[in-house]
């Protein structure tokens, strides 16, 4: 009788553990995207009239950086220009002393994580009167996350004392669909749409 009961309980426990499923595997590529924008609330954007933009995308990976101008980067920069113009800003060359500058970057952070071997499996051979003498075994695994970072830099009111330019607005585009060229227009439009305070006309 005990056997039957154990079987019922075992079946039930197996049933309990097998019912987990990935809650986000039904998201479309577009739905995975997350748009995060930040602003400097003390700034009146109406003071700016002109803007310029970097000629290529800055690629930052673990504090090392370079530049890139692939199809997706070009699409991103062009879409930023279109959005800035429709907000009322005039596009000028960097040499024409723009009021604000736009930077675009692809940032990747790779982290090395460490975990230790659990030692409680050692009990299995305990019947022989021996425990396990475990040295410290460590396992390493790497995680990395990339995102687009678009920032608006105030050239008009440069901080002359410590020679810095303030970032008055920035946008991060995160999620598993950020490398999709088809979605670039939508990504850029979205970050500007949710920042309607940038509008100057």
């Amino acid at each position: 009788m005990l056997k039957i009961t154990s079987l019922i309980i075992l079946t039930a426990v197996l049933g309990l553990s097998s019912c987990t499923k990935d809650p986000i595997n039904d998201l479309s590529t577009e739905e995975t995207l997350v748009y995060v924008t930040n602003r400097d609330k003390t700034v009146d954007y109406k003071q700016y009239k002109t803007f310029s933009i970097v000629d290529s995308v800055l690629v930052v990976e673990n504090n090392q950086s370079g530049t890139a101008l692939d199809e997706i980067d070009r699409a991103l920069l062009n879409r930023i220009i279109i959005n800035m113009q429709s907000l009322g800003y005039t596009y000028v060359a960097p040499s024409a002393k723009p009021d604000v500058g736009i930077n675009a970057a692809w940032v990747t952070n790779t982290q090395l994580n460490v975990t230790t071997q659990p030692s409680y499996y050692g009990g299995y051979w305990g019947g022989y009167g021996y425990g396990y003498g475990y040295p410290s075994y460590y396992q390493y695994y790497e995680t990395s996350e990339s995102y687009w970072l678009i920032s608006m830099v105030d050239f008009k009111n440069a901080n002359t004392t410590d020679k810095t330019f303030n970032v008055v607005w920035d946008a991060q585009i995160r999620g598993s669909g950020i490398g999709s060229t088809q979605l670039v227009d939508q990504m850029v439009n979205s970050v500007f749409t949710q920042s309607n305070y940038l509008k100057i006309k």
Binding site: T5, T11, I24, R39, Q194
Partner: protein, 219 residues
């Protein structure tokens, strides 16, 4: 005449013997009455979030809840005591929306989830005796729930895992498939709550669960 008498006598003696046999069968009470016995139940339930948990986090019906329990049905008492472990899962998808957090604006498709593994002890009070094929009961339970709270913004997860006190009160009934048998069905409606508080959940979780179960009892 004599013949008829003999037949009649035989008939009387025979039926008397039969009548003597019959009470013997029923004078012995069921072992489930005589002994403290065990009862194991497997349940599947549907759950509906309630109160502020429903208002501020997930208001969607969940059909992914399971539990298994083991109880001791006490002799000469309407009470039984036992333990139950379960798994509850609630989920809700919210289409793309804009969220404000300080100076930050976040636009995302939100997937709200909560997984609970409640481990509780309970006491049942039975309204009818153990020989009855229908055994309605009232239940009170308490314990802790291992809780995983995960909100996905797009494909990014914000997670919190915590063990929170859990409690419940319910009404149900056991239905034996056969009088004095070992197998039966169990129907129960139960209010379940935990004091888990994090982010969107400010006042703990609460839900009403309706379950269908099968039980096996032995001594």
């Amino acid at each position: 005449m004599r013949k008829i008498f003999l037949v009649a006598l035989f008939a009387i003696v025979f039926s008397a013997a039969k009548a003597q046999e019959a009470p013997k069968l029923y004078t012995l009470p069921s072992p489930f009455e005589r002994y403290t016995h065990y009862l194991a139940t497997v349940r599947y339930s549907g759950a509906m979030p309630l109160g502020s948990f429903s208002d501020s986090y997930i208001d969607k019906f969940s059909a992914r809840n399971y539990s298994v329990s083991l109880e001791w049905v006490l002799r000469n008492s309407p009470l039984s005591i036992g333990g139950e472990i379960g798994s509850n899962y609630f989920q809700k998808r919210i289409p793309r929306a804009v969220y404000q957090s300080g100076d930050e604006t976040i636009s995302a498709v939100q997937t709200r989830t909560i997984t609970q593994y409640p481990i509780q002890v309970f006491a049942n009070y039975h309204f009818l005796n153990k020989t009855s094929t229908i055994q309605p009961y009232a239940q009170i339970s308490g314990g802790a729930a291992i809780t995983d709270y995960t909100v996905y913004y797009g494909s990014l997860a914000q997670q919190k895992q915590k063990i929170a006190p859990a409690y419940g009160i319910g009404l149900g009934s056991k239905f034996l498939f056969k009088r004095d048998g070992s197998f039966g069905a169990d129907l129960r409606v139960k209010y379940e709550g935990t004091s888990f508080k994090y982010d969107y959940i400010e006042k703990g979780t609460s839900s009403v669960n309706a379950s269908v179960g099968l039980f096996y009892r032995w001594w």
